[in-house]
Symmetry: C2
Subunit: 196 residues, 2 copies
DNA sequence: CCTACCGATCGGTAGG
DNA sequence: CCTACCGATCGGTAGG
């Protein structure tokens, strides 16, 4: 029988999704079983299905949530009145902060999205490419105006976005520098590397 | 009955390992099945076991092979008579070239090593940490000599090594710049970012 | 939310 | 190198 969704249901679903993000990050999507997840949440595996439709729905929700946040942010940056370098810096700082505060979901969305099912897989892949094109285009404008070195823009995008995923190692490190220091160091190295 | 290994055996094993690297890269270690692999090689799944001991042995061989290559190289660099910046540049260029020419194995070793079984998992993890410490130490010497900006060395390592993994996107891109151009662009951005 | 259970698929073995 | 097959584990459902 169809159940009416209550606020409890929604928060329970969010608890499951958060636990799934942590599990998918640690074991990888395929290696993480629904029995693992159930144990984390404190119920039997079958009970999860009162709140979610499927394992793949969990991955999908994580990826869509992250993608929407980044998509919204880059649109704000595009409309800003500032230099190209400042725009790239704003994008870089956003990526760093998301990778620090929203770690598990951002990580999973970045590394496990290939396990999405169609048509979500194609949608995600396309949006990801469009996002990178937008960043490349901002860099190209910066090159045109003489703020940025005459480098290959797609290569610069690739470096910046992948460098951020290294924050995984920072999270795992014993003697952590502060989040602010991490951000400052990354910006110094990467933005100076671009600047003419 | 025990079989005596012939040269044929060894090359057949190498063919299987190469195919495994490609498959593990495309699907991820857990999602890649031995039946998938058998199909790629052109035999039945059971026949693979005449040449290999297990699925996990394949991953292990890939990771050890890659780890040894990088380990050997960094020792050469450490013993070179040159500046810290030049050493970092040599390491960066080696990573780029390996990621271009030995793509599948390097990728798998970087992204799928968490699925290694003990004691290989711990060994690999330790060696990886030691490797990064060596790079950080070279950077710190460069800072001390005033060649490199006063940045946090572990953060610089994290950026450089992860940036290289972005070459994955380069491999997949339609309009590729040449490998030489890619290398030149990456070195320009990253080494200039470090240099004082 | 649980117990009970299903069909599919997995890595791997026996035997030839 | 193949056919035949096993025990384990998977995602998910039925029914209460």
């Amino acid at each position: 029988m169809a159940r009416i969704k209550t606020t409890q249901d929604i928060s329970r679903k969010e608890v499951i999704t958060e636990a799934a993000a942590t599990l998918f990050k640690e074991k990888g999507y395929k290696a993480a079983s629904m029995r693992d997840l159930a144990e984390q949440v404190g119920v039997e595996a079958a009970s999860l299905y009162n709140h979610i439709k499927s394992k793949s729905e969990l991955l999908h929700n994580i990826c869509v949530q992250v993608a929407n946040d980044f998509w919204e942010h880059i649109h704000e940056v595009e409309n800003k009145k500032c230099t190209g370098v400042e725009k790239v810096e704003a994008i870089l700082r956003y990526h760093i902060r998301e990778m620090i505060t929203n770690y598990e979901k951002v990580y999973v969305s970045d590394r496990e999205w290939k396990h999405l099912t169609e048509p979500y897989l194609s949608n995600f892949h396309t949006q990801r490419r469009e996002y990178r094109k937008k960043v490349a285009s901002i860099i190209e404008q910066g090159i045109h105006k003489g703020e940025i070195k005459p480098i290959d823009a797609p290569t610069a995008v690739l470096i910046i976005l992948h460098a951020v995923s290294g924050i995984d190692s920072w999270h795992r490190s014993k003697q952590k520098i502060s989040a602010a220091e991490l951000e400052a160091n990354m910006v110094t190295i990467l933005i100076d590397g671009l600047r003419k």
